[in-house]
Every structure is written in structure tokens, then in C-alpha cells.
Symmetry: C2
Subunit: 161 residues, 2 copies
């Protein structure tokens, strides 16, 4: 095990301890929620492997593990939209991270061009479900902040069906 | 497929469409980030299956799938700390949800007794990694908002090693 992490020996130690004992899943990944430190907006949900977590802690810039490219991903390397780490937290059972960041440049974090990846809300309530028809999405961001074709040219789109 | 969802047929449709086409993983689950609508604080990170997502949309109260109990989980059923849905959003590739809620009662969402599950921050920077010793955690919530022993009595602790 990486000497920066400690072994998980008891529920008490994991929930109430003072040492980092992260749980990576069977693929070696831990989910991370990234929010804008100023607005509280959730920008993205992604994954880190051990290397990405250590790089993030060490450099103060968000690193993830790209599942589509299967490699370490220094966010902003292609787009310039680097995420500067402001605070990193871990949850009770240490199987999820919360990263608060400031984003460089236009402030966008989504490969589609929006500020947040969560640019659509879901219609809710009984009126949304009673008809038994597909539920509607409503765009909450009106405009893209950049043109992904210009920024990423022909890079692989990470969305998978 | 549930008639409330639509099939995933193209990247364009998933990223830019107006219909809900969620991607559940091989275990039938989709991750969900839950934040407090007033403070923007991330309260928890959990999972929904199809049933939990439909129940949440229909009732306006957060339902999850409990991986430890392997069953539908109406949050607050034991503790009274129900999460009232304010807004539900989905991300670009529709494989993650963001739920903004108001929490009933004391406002807590964490089974350990804290308001947020993310009650510890991780020490960061080169000073945290240079020693090659286990990285420290620092508590950011000073007090528990309730006593989990009183609220949950002998219910199963969801934390797994």
C-alpha cells in the first residue's frame, strides 16, 4: 500500500480516525464530487485512482482517472480549464471524495461546453410520472461557455452509450 | 425498460436531448450527489436503482438503494431526517445525478451523527506528502447533531471495510 494511506482496520477508525484510509473499488477507483468553491455548484462527478489522488494532494490541481481513455487525467491539460484545489474532504466510510475548486479561464468544467456537467434538470412530481411517458429534461444553462470542437479538436468524446 | 426512461441511441441524444435516458451500471445503480439547497454543502454521495429514482421523482422525497442492506432506502424512515427534493439534475452523459434537498428535523444527513458525511478534510500540499507518512485528516464539523445510538439503536452500520 502507498505509505501516504493507512490500512482500514475497524469501522471506528475509518469513521472517526485522523488518518487517510481511502477505499478504492474493485477497479481501483474512488468517486469524487467536484464543486465550485464560490457558488457551491456541482461541476462534475468523476473518479480517481491512487495515483490521481496523490497527484491532486501534492500539486493542488485536480487529477482524475479517465475511464474512457484509461489513463491519468490532469484536468485542463487540453482545454486550459485547470481546477485549482481549495479544499478536499472525505466521507464517513472513506469511499468518496469532495473537492472544492476554482476553475481557471472561462470557469467551465464540462466537455460539452457548459460550466457544469449538470446543465439539465429532471422534471419531477406526479405530473412527470403519471403519463407513463419518457420524463422531460429542462436546460438550466442557456449558453455554452466555449466551443468544444475548437478546444478539443478531434479528441475522443468521453460519453459512452 | 421503464416507460419513464428513453433508450440511449447516440452521444448527441444523450448529451443534448430533452428526455431522461439514465445509464445504470452493471449492478443496476447510478451515483447521486446530494447537496443542501441553502448552503451548497455536499451532504452525501449514494446510489439509486431504477425504483429509487422513480420513487424520488414521484414523491419528492429522496429514495436511494442501500448497498449494505441491498434494498430500497427511503432516507429518513428510521431517523426522521427526510430529504425533501428541491431540484434534481443529470449530467452530460446521464450516468450521475445531482439532488438538491432540504433536510427535515436537525438537518443532518450522516449516519455517524454529523450534518454532512464529509466532516473531515484531507491535509494537502507538498508538506502533506513529502514525509511519506500517512496523510492527516482534520475534522471540519465540531459536534454531532444527534446521537446515532439513540436514533438507530441496533440497526446495521452501513460502513464496510
Amino acid at each position: 500500500m502507498n505509505p501516504l494511506f493507512t490500512a482500514r482496520t475497524s469501522v471506528e477508525q475509518v469513521e472517526s480516525g485522523f488518518l487517510l484510509a481511502p477505499k478504492f473499488d474493485t477497479n481501483g477507483l474512488i468517486p469524487v464530487v467536484t464543486t465550485d468553491v464560490n457558488t457551491g455548484e456541482v461541476l462534475m462527478h468523476a473518479y480517481m485512482n491512487e495515483e490521481a489522488l496523490v497527484k491532486t494532494i501534492e500539486t493542488g490541481e485536480a487529477h482524475y482517472y479517465s475511464r474512457s481513455r484509461q489513463q491519468l487525467w490532469h484536468k485542463g491539460q487540453s482545454s486550459g480549464l485547470v481546477q485549482k484545489l481549495q479544499q478536499l474532504a472525505i466521507d464517513d466510510d472513506q469511499d468518496c471524495l469532495w473537492m472544492q475548486v476554482k476553475v481557471a479561464g472561462s470557469g467551465a468544467s464540462c466537455h460539452v461546453g457548459y460550466r457544469s456537467c449538470f446543465y439539465r434538470r429532471i422534471a419531477t412530481g406526479k405530473s412527470a410520472t403519471d403519463s407513463q411517458q419518457p420524463i422531460q429534461l429542462v436546460f438550466t444553462e442557456e449558453e455554452k461557455t466555449f466551443d468544444p470542437k475548437t478546444v478539443y479538436s478531434d479528441a475522443l468524446n468521453p460519453t459512452q452509450l
